[in-house]
């Protein structure tokens, strides 16, 4: 079964690393569940896209990155921020539209950034993150800082023209960029079968960009592929495409009942391929105490509860905030 399969790709993983991956993925899941709950209470408004089910992708890739690397993604972005080490309190407070949010309540779920953690958003226009990520890579090359840009996008975004334009430039100029396509099988409600010709990991072939399809539900498979891709990029050989086959358990956004897929399909993924349970099974097979796992669960719950409380207690932005940050103030010449 699933756990058996992951055994092989996780052959050399030690217990501490297993625990760390388990902890990070669990934080994402519990955070997202809490966000869903706060949305249900009307505390989070607008669009809210949850990452539940896809946790192994960002966790596995981030675990292989260097501190100087940069990250950009689409609007399904809470997990990427957590993986980059951004504070759950600041993220949740942005979701509730409060002053202590990462964007002072002016960005919302889809628009958060952290210069300190090299996280460049949070973009609501499908495919824009591919081009912006290519620009981050351009800046790494220009500054010769040894960084790699990791640009996440969905399977829907991979069809955008600007992504193809960027593959061309990134390959032409050997830009240090890892394009991660998070293929969760549905571009909103449209199945891949009805929207994608060919295979997404092969879309770079014409440009000479290597690509690989990976089991994105298996965090060790993700790690292994990321390591290989990042080595390739860091050695100066240019871009790489990883197509992560993954699955979101929830709808596209909170208001999507996801009627375009069967219950069986969802339950099969949940019951047989869940990224967190796969790691949990391994930990149990390794003889980790149930009490230790419970302790991690409790700790994560505490972090998420604290974030939720913080996000509700933080005040709304002052009305004067309406007018700030439109332009950077400049001295009169």
């Amino acid at each position: 079964m699933a756990a058996k399969k992951t055994k092989s790709s996780a052959a050399k993983v030690n217990k501490d690393e297993l625990l760390s991956l388990y902890r990070e993925m669990l934080l994402i899941r519990r955070f997202e569940e809490k966000a869903g709950q706060l949305y249900g209470m009307g505390l989070i408004g607008g669009f809210c896209h949850l990452y539940i089910g896809q946790e192994a992708v960002v966790t596995g890739i981030q675990s292989q990155q260097e501190p100087q690397d940069t990250v950009v993604t689409s609007y399904r972005d809470h997990a990427h921020m957590l993986a980059c080490g951004m504070d759950p309190k600041g993220i949740m407070a942005e979701l509730t539209g409060r002053i202590d949010g990462y964007s002072r309540g002016k960005g919302g779920s889809m628009h958060m950034f952290s210069r300190e953690k090299n996280f460049f958003g949070g973009h609501g226009i499908v495919g824009a993150n591919g081009a912006i990520g290519t620009g981050l890579a351009f800046s790494h090359k220009y500054k010769k800082d040894g960084g790699v840009a990791v640009a996440y996008m969905g399977d829907g975004a991979a069809n955008q023209g600007q992504v193809a334009e960027c593959y061309n430039m990134a390959a032409l100029w050997k830009l240090p960029i890892l394009y991660v396509i998070e293929n969760n099988k549905y571009a909103m409600g449209t199945s891949n079968k009805r929207s994608i010709a060919g295979e997404l990991h092969k879309r770079g072939e014409g440009y000479g960009i290597p690509g690989e399809q990976v089991d994105g539900m298996d965090v060790f498979a993700v790690q292994k592929a990321a390591r290989k891709a990042l080595d390739h990029i860091r050695s100066g050989k240019g871009p790489y495409i990883l197509e992560m086959m993954t699955y979101r358990y929830r709808g596209h956004s909170m208001s999507d009942p996801a009627k375009y897929r069967t219950k069986d399909e969802l339950n099969t993924m949940k019951n047989e391929h869940d990224p967190i349970n796969q790691v949990k099974d391994m930990l149990q097979q390794d003889g980790v105490d149930e009490a230790d796992l419970k302790a991690i669960d409790k700790e994560i719950k505490g972090i998420v509860a604290e974030a939720a409380t913080f996000a509700q207690e933080s005040p709304e932005p002052d009305e004067a905030e309406l007018w700030t940050d439109v332009l950077i103030e400049t001295d009169a010449a």
Binding site: E33, K34, G36, Q37, Y39, G40, M41, G42, T70, V72, G101, Y102, S103, K106, G107, H111, M112, F113, S114, R115, F120, G121, I125, A128, G130, A131, I132, T134, G135, L136, F138, S139, Y142, K143, G161, Q162, E165, N168, M169, Y249, S255, D256, P257, K259, Q312, P315, E316, D318, E319, A320, W323, T324, D325, V326, L327, I328, E329, T330, A332, A333
Partner: protein, 472 residues
């Protein structure tokens, strides 16, 4: 402690819903993520998942109930050893936002004919954003006495070269900017001086390379993006507006985008509808952008340098016909024209003509003709479209009491429409005649030479409009 399960909002607009079905019964164990109920929203039937784990202690709203308000308790979850009666029904209150004090607007004072030196105003950008009338930024243009004649093309090139020498983060990219030396030869010699790492030929891929440059700017580089013409820049308008202009705001001030986007704008000569269009009002519409439109070589040099030094995204609307025209231009490397400051090109007492880019030249021609007919026109060269130098326009209006604005773009929601609104809102009592607009005709640009000339504002049209506001 027992936990209440509340009726969730499951769409941005949902206020109530129907509890269609319970999938768990009282006494059932519930894990986080389990589907416990189905509810019907205004859009669809949705599943409710448990967030907390425990035992479903009590169902408070039975299935089939219609019109259950969001946040109504629908069930109670208890942990081992608890009873439903332990529930504390007190609700938490959100902190209320506090009201803020208003920023005091700078007052407008009437002054004499000559353009004021300017003023330092705190929070200038906020005041501009609020449409307040404030004095333009300080600039003593008369101090730049050393000048030499040069073309607009050379002025643009020199400004870029000077700024590239000054700051290694500044680089130029676009189609044909390097080896070809620029489709209109604006970047001539830059590749030789700065090399291929800083002067970069791109594929014909505006959407992609503009998005790329925006990303690079977010990470601290200072790109100058050349569009072969702004008509092609329309392919990239999403990144200009959604990615470059809005990010500072969406990031709560954390992350800016110091990028310059430039290229020839408006009609050239006989190139037809798809290559002849003015984008001034398009980009001036957008908060988070600055938009400049040089006319003379001095404008071109001073505004280009200001744009490159500005930490915000700046649009430079150049003009192909002007590239080859020569003007006296200050030679100093410190000649930086503050963005947001217009220039009075010709002082006059009877009527104000406001214009920008190539139409400033047409306005000057019209003013010369008007002078022969005994009408003394003042010509304002806007230089910057956004933020608009409202102060200089209104001070001129107070003096002349009549105003004509001239632009190459279409009339609907154009720059002239904005200036007319400004005069009505802030200069109503000074107007002796309705503001007159001279615009490009409201048609796609025709190819035939006679029709193209008809479509574009000509000095005779400006003369006619001036006479109309002067009732002559």
């Amino acid at each position: 402690m027992p936990t209440q399960v509340l009726m969730p909002a499951l769409s941005p607009t949902m206020t109530e819903g129907n509890l269609a079905k319970w999938l768990k019964a009282e006494g059932d164990t519930v894990e986080a993520g389990d589907v416990i109920a189905e509810i019907e929203t205004d859009k669809a039937t949705m599943e409710v998942e448990a967030v907390d784990e425990g035992v479903l202690g009590k169902i408070l709203v039975s299935e089939g109930t219609q019109g259950v308000a969001v946040n109504t308790p629908i069930a109670v979850l208890i942990e081992d050893g608890e009873s439903v009666d332990d529930l504390d029904l007190s609700a938490a209150n959100d902190a209320a936002p506090e009201a803020s004090s208003d920023d005091a607007p700078a007052s407008v004072s009437s002054s004499d004919a000559e353009q004021v030196l300017g003023a330092d105003v705190k929070d200038r950008d906020i005041l501009y954003a609020q449409g307040k009338v404030i004095e333009p930024p300080v600039f003593d243009e008369a101090a730049f006495t050393d000048t030499a004649e040069c073309t607009v093309r050379v002025a643009l090139r020199d400004a870029m070269a000077e700024e590239m020498r000054r700051d290694e983060l500044v680089h130029l990219l676009g189609e044909e900017v390097a080896e070809y030396q620029g489709a209109y030869k604006v970047s001539e010699g830059l590749l030789d001086e700065f090399g291929a790492d800083r002067v970069i030929d791109t594929p014909i891929t505006e959407h992609g390379f503009t998005g790329m440059a925006v990303g690079a700017a977010m990470n601290g580089l200072k790109p100058i993006v050349e569009f072969m013409t702004w008509n092609f820049g329309m392919q990239a308008i999403d990144h200009i507006i959604n990615s470059a202009a809005k990010t500072l705001y969406m990031a709560g001030g954390q992350l800016g985008c110091p990028i310059v986007l430039r290229g020839p704008n408006g009609a050239a000569s006989r190139v037809g509808a798809q290559h002849s269009q003015c984008y001034a009002s398009w980009y001036a519409h957008v908060p988070g952008l600055k938009v400049v439109a040089p006319w003379s070589a001095a404008d071109a040099k001073g505004l280009m340098k200001a744009a490159i030094r500005d930490p915000n995204p700046v649009i430079i609307l150049e003009n192909e016909i002007l590239y080859g025209q020569s003007f006296e231009c200050p030679t100093s490397e410190d000649f930086v024209i503050p963005i947001g400051r217009a220039r009075i090109e010709r002082s006059g007492a009877d009527v104000t003509i406001v214009s920008y880019s190539i139409m400033v030249g047409k306005a000057m021609e019209a003013a010369a003709e008007l002078a022969e007919q005994g009408i003394d026109a003042e010509v304002i060269n806007l230089r910057t479209i956004r933020p608009l130098d409202r102060y200089t326009i209104l001070e001129s209006l107070k003096k002349t009491n009549r105003l004509v604005c001239v632009e190459e773009g279409w009339p609907f929601a154009g720059v002239g429409a904005e200036i007319a609104a400004l005069c009505m809102e802030h200069g109503f009592d000074y107007l002796d005649a309705p503001v007159e607009r001279v615009c490009g005709k409201d048609v796609p640009m025709p190819y035939a030479a006679n029709l193209e000339a008809l479509a574009l504002p000509q000095p005779a049209d400006i003369v006619g409009a001036v006479k109309k506001v002067c009732y002559k």
